[in-house]
């Protein structure tokens, strides 16, 4: 920073306005929380209500004001502001200004705060009076924390939040930029621009949907916390259920978009890689689904109180925790795509712990224990700040909180006296929710390995994708079986005979269809040669396959026979069918994913272990035609559009006569990104039953030098008869006919000169046929050297031998050397039936929407 320089033309008022909104939003949220707190204590006065509501509206306007200010800066390219300078530039197309907005951490926090404000106001307007004050008090408190993320104020060395309105010259990261020495630097600079990786339509729709999903988990959370607080454990659940369904729907959509984006635009070769960033959106969804189900039990049957509170609270806490994971920099080596560390680690930890603490405090129904727990917590915080030993103190605190939670549950929480029957719907729904919760905990634990490393000073490497799959398959199987059968149980008590009779049809169909699909898929070829771990995998895949079919048929059956095909009540059946199809599609497309690019190298590395035996890189030289799966592929060359280099390839199939027909073209791309380095983007051809996915693993991005002339490779000898075919790299050559200048009689009479001509027809990839006529010349019983060059195809033929006994001829074929010839290294896969997965996603979302509509209708019909 250069303090002596007086800068010209900076529009400082914009940042001041923005900062005004930041401070106002924080204060208004705080006042609103206080207001709702006092409003919740009093029954009659509406003074606090008015105050709190006004404060919340002011807060909402401020958040929108912050967003509008930031947009205004981005639209008008105010590069004096660090955020604009970092994320936009003069060429930024209008549609990506949105992406600039949420590219950085501050913008994405703002997006989160914005959705919270939208949902908060809807909640405030629609909620029954009884729950308004307590839920909104907690809601406003959460907003205090999120608004503080945008503060960027220093307390000594410690920075609270990260401000989107700081100037470039105030940002220590840019302190040494040379242009800051110039008074009117603004006239000379352009922004750094948006990361080109993010300039695609997914980045304009995926983040807002996902963040709306994250925001939506807040509503069930505030209901559940309010329930703990007011010690009314049941009446909040009915209004909260619609919100829970909404959260399941929107968060599910966000995750689906993430998967689709990964599959379409990223190059790890799949739709799900168990990356921490992906897991941190999946886990809250899983818990939310569990919460929704225990809340349904509670609505129909009562009970399950602790689980409803636990899961509704856990979903939001897990969103907070994943915010910490992905934004604190703690993932380090284990994730290739976490956010950069903005020095907010401590702050994020404290936020997560504060909300855990609030929940524990509210759970304790004893003043003495409550006060002691609070005192101990603050003492631990104090010791941690003053004396260090933060990790040990943190572990102690977690231990204490855990023990107190269990104690409070036993001591203060209402419990059901009556035990559920084994043949009741509520029992199995409860088991299902427990399975969901457990799988969420395991994924969280796996994802948290870097955190564990820090807590317990270990050096564990992140869990592998294959291990995630291995552990999650049994959970998926149990979940699917429960999804299949649970609807056929009645609440309270079911006649077992009736139950088994009802599910038997679906079971039989699923078993027959499943076995006839599973045996050829997993057991005919693969099983006998598989290692023991893979044998286990194959068996579990088979069970998963059959369970998924079982779940689909059971739910179809329930919808058609029990619900008589009515759509209004069928939300859950439809959503369950979707869920089962998702798992089925994921299973088939992952387990039967075929590498169609095959490495022709003879080197065998199987001795190194299974992980090494993946020869999947194919070298494709320009003009070459190589077989890939059912296709023949030819590389046509590359073209550069800006920073994107496209590698164009044609895929051919053979028709009944063996003639090549062009099936489709793919243009996988490598982005030659000056800021991010290169990144490979696949191209995929979608068919109804499978996808052909191709991506470049190695390509030369610069223009290749001209082809060297007249150098030929070592010849290869071919022995052939009439009508035989010879294969070269770029042509198919047929021996069409053999002619001589002399008849046999003439030859025996006159042995001076014999010329035998082989007429060859060489067909290239485009179907053009060329004639080659190499000659075998015999003079005075010795062969004269003669070669035939087919320039068009870069082939040279030497017809050098005739074997009269076999009736065959021998021809040496050499191909032109092209050491500088353009080539690419690629990997290609065939994903079978991946459309089942996408179809399942859409069906599940539709089912959830049907359930939301029905729930809203019911809530209107019977107001409480």
């Amino acid at each position: 920073m250069n303090n002596s320089t007086v800068y010209i033309a900076e529009r400082l008022w914009v940042g001041q306005l923005g900062n005004g909104f930041v401070i106002l939003s924080l204060l208004a949220a705080l006042f609103s929380a206080i207001g709702y707190y006092f409003y919740s204590k009093e029954v009659l006065t509406s003074e606090w209500k008015k105050f709190a509501n006004t404060a919340f509206i002011v807060h909402s306007i401020s958040i929108i004001g912050i967003a509008a200010t930031l947009f205004y800066m981005l639209f008008n390219h105010f590069y004096e502001y660090s955020y604009v300078y970092q994320h936009s530039n003069n060429e930024m197309p209008l549609q990506y200004i949105m992406s600039c907005f949420w590219e950085g951490q501050e913008g994405s926090f703002l997006l989160w705060a914005f959705w919270n404000v939208v949902l908060g106001n809807i909640l405030r307007k629609t909620i029954e009076v009884k729950w308004e004050a307590p839920t909104m008090a907690i809601f406003a408190l959460v907003q205090v924390f999120i608004a503080s993320m945008l503060l960027g104020i220093y307390f000594g060395d410690y920075k609270l939040g990260s401000n989107p309105f700081i100037l470039v010259r105030e940002n220590p990261q840019f302190a040494n930029l040379p242009f800051l020495q110039i008074e009117n630097y603004l006239a000379k600079i352009d922004g750094r621009g948006l990361n080109p990786l993010l300039m695609n339509y997914w980045m304009t729709i995926h983040p807002p949907t996902l963040f709306l999903g994250f925001s939506s988990t807040l509503v069930p959370f505030v209901f559940a916390v309010a329930g703990l607080w007011k010690r009314d454990f049941t009446t909040w659940q009915k209004p909260a259920l619609t919100w829970t369904f909404f959260s399941i729907m929107i968060l599910g959509t966000g995750i689906l978009m993430g998967g689709a984006w990964a599959y379409e635009a990223l190059s790890f070769g799949g739709f799900w890689a168990w990356d921490p960033v992906e897991n941190s959106s999946l886990v809250p969804w899983i818990v939310m689904v569990g919460a929704g189900h225990v809340m349904i039990i509670n609505k129909n049957r009562g009970g399950s109180l602790f689980m409803t509170h636990l899961m509704a609270i856990a979903s939001f806490l897990l969103v907070l925790y994943s915010t910490f994971l992905t934004r604190s920099g703690i993932l380090g080596n284990s994730s290739v795509h976490a956010f950069t560390d903005l020095g907010m680690q401590a702050q994020l930890v404290i936020y997560v712990l504060t909300f855990v603490m609030i929940c524990v405090v509210l759970l304790i129904h004893d003043k003495l224990i409550r006060v002691s727990y609070l005192m101990v917590s603050f003492l631990i915080l104090f010791f941690g700040i003053v004396y260090g030993h933060k990790i040990i103190l943190l572990l102690i605190w977690i231990g204490i909180s855990f023990i107190i939670t269990i104690y409070s549950y036993i001591k203060f929480f209402p419990k059901e006296e009556e035990e559920e029957s084994l043949y009741s719907r509520e029992f199995w729904m409860f088991v299902g929710s427990l399975v969901f919760l457990l799988s969420a905990l395991i994924i969280t634990y796996f994802t948290s390995i870097p955190v564990m490393n820090k807590l317990f000073t270990m050096e564990k490497a992140p869990i592998k994708i294959a291990d995630y799959n291995l552990w999650m398959v049994p959970f998926a199987i149990i979940a699917l079986i429960l999804v299949a059968v649970t609807q056929f149980f009645k609440y309270k008590k079911t006649d077992p005979k009736q139950f088994f009779k009802q599910i038997s049809i679906s079971a039989v169909i699923a078993l027959i269809l499943g076995c006839s699909a599973v045996i050829p898929l997993y057991f005919l070829k693969d099983y006998s040669s598989a290692s023991s771990i893979n044998k286990w995998n194959l068996i579990s895949y088979a069970i998963l396959f059959i369970s998924a079919l079982f779940a689909v048929f059971c739910n179809l059956d329930y919808w058609m026979r029990v619900l008589k095909g009515k759509i209004r009540h069928a939300g859950s059946s439809i959503a369950h069918i979707g869920f089962a199809l998702i798992l089925l599609g994921a299973l088939i497309s992952t387990s039967k994913k075929q590498t169609i690019s095959k490495n022709s190298s003879k080197k065998n590395v199987a001795s190194l272990g299974e992980d090494f035996d993946a020869k999947k890189s194919l070298v494709l030289t320009i003009g070459d035609t190589l077989a890939m799966g059912n296709y023949l592929v030819t590389y046509k060359g590359k073209e550069r559009k800006g920073i994107d280099v496209f590698f164009n390839m044609d895929y051919f199939t053979k028709d009944a006569n063996g003639k090549l027909i062009k099936a489709f073209e793919l243009s996988p791309m490598i982005q030659d990104n000056p800021r991010m380095g290169t990144s490979s983007h696949p191209d995929t051809k979608h068919f109804l039953s499978n996808d052909i996915y191709t991506h470049i693993t190695y390509g030369i991005l610069s223009d290749t030098k001209a082809v060297k002339k007249d150098a030929y490779r070592e010849p290869t000898n071919f022995v052939g008869h009439m009508n035989d075919t010879i294969f070269s790299d770029n042509a198919i050559i047929k021996i069409d006919s053999i002619t001589t200048n002399l008849s046999e009689k003439q030859f025996s009479e006159n042995d001076s000169l014999l010329v035998v001509t082989a007429v060859l027809k060489a067909t290239d990839i485009n179907g053009t046929t060329y004639r080659a006529t190499p000659k075998y010349i015999l003079k005075n019983n010795s062969v004269l050297p003669s070669e035939f060059e087919l320039k068009e195809l870069g082939l040279k033929f030497i017809f050098w031998k005739i074997n009269p006994q076999e009736g065959s001829i021998e021809i040496q074929v050499s191909e032109k050397v092209n050491s500088t010839k353009e080539f690419v290294v690629l990997e290609a896969y065939m994903f079978p039936f991946i459309n089942v997965l996408w179809l399942g996603c859409v069906i599940m979302i539709i089912g959830t929407i049907v359930a939301i509509i029905e729930r809203r209708r019911l809530n209107k019909v019977k107001p409480q």
Binding site: Q86, E103, Q105, R192, N195, L197, A262, L266, S267, F268, D275, V277, N333, V336, H337, F339, T340, E419, E420, L422, F427, F430, V431, L434, L438, I442, I449, M458, E459, K460, A461, I463, K464, D467, W471, N599, S601, K603, V605, L608, G609, D611, F612, A614, K615, K616, S617, L618, V619, I670, R675, M676, G677, T678, S679, T697, Y698, G699, V825, E827
Partner: protein, 127 residues
């Protein structure tokens, strides 16, 4: 004993079981020396590419093999054989993590993660 208690016990047992087995089986971050002493165990070795020695990659011979020298965090240098196509940006890498095992004097890796210097890594670059 109620059914719910049995469920609780099952849940806790599974959770402990998963934590224990995954801790037992998962690989650890390490260095070349430790990998040499257990040649058949998989390790994640963190280090830096030696940029003064060229990376060898000839797709015409084997598109799934490249080789380079890497210095681990303890300063030990070993030849690495990566059984994959060469990562396009390897020359720009600041830090690499190799997943694989030691065989003789060479480290055979089946996967590689790279950290490249970039101002913004808040996107999903290629894995």
């Amino acid at each position: 004993m109620k059914k719910i208690h049995i469920l609780g016990i099952v849940v806790i047992a599974v959770a402990i079981g998963v934590i224990f087995t995954s801790l037992q089986s998962s690989a650890t971050y390490s260095d070349f020396i430790e990998a040499s002493s257990n040649p058949d165990t998989e390790y994640h070795v963190v280090g830096k590419l030696n940029k003064s020695i060229p990376v060898q990659y000839d797709p015409k011979i084997n598109a799934d093999e490249c080789s380079f020298m890497m210095l681990d965090n303890k300063g030990v240098e070993k030849r690495v054989v990566l059984h994959k196509s060469v990562p396009q940006d390897i020359q720009k890498s600041e830090q690499i993590v190799l997943i694989g095992k030691m065989q003789g004097n060479e480290f055979h890796a089946n996967d590689i993660l790279m950290k490249c210097p970039s101002k913004y890594n808040d996107a999903k670059p290629q894995a």
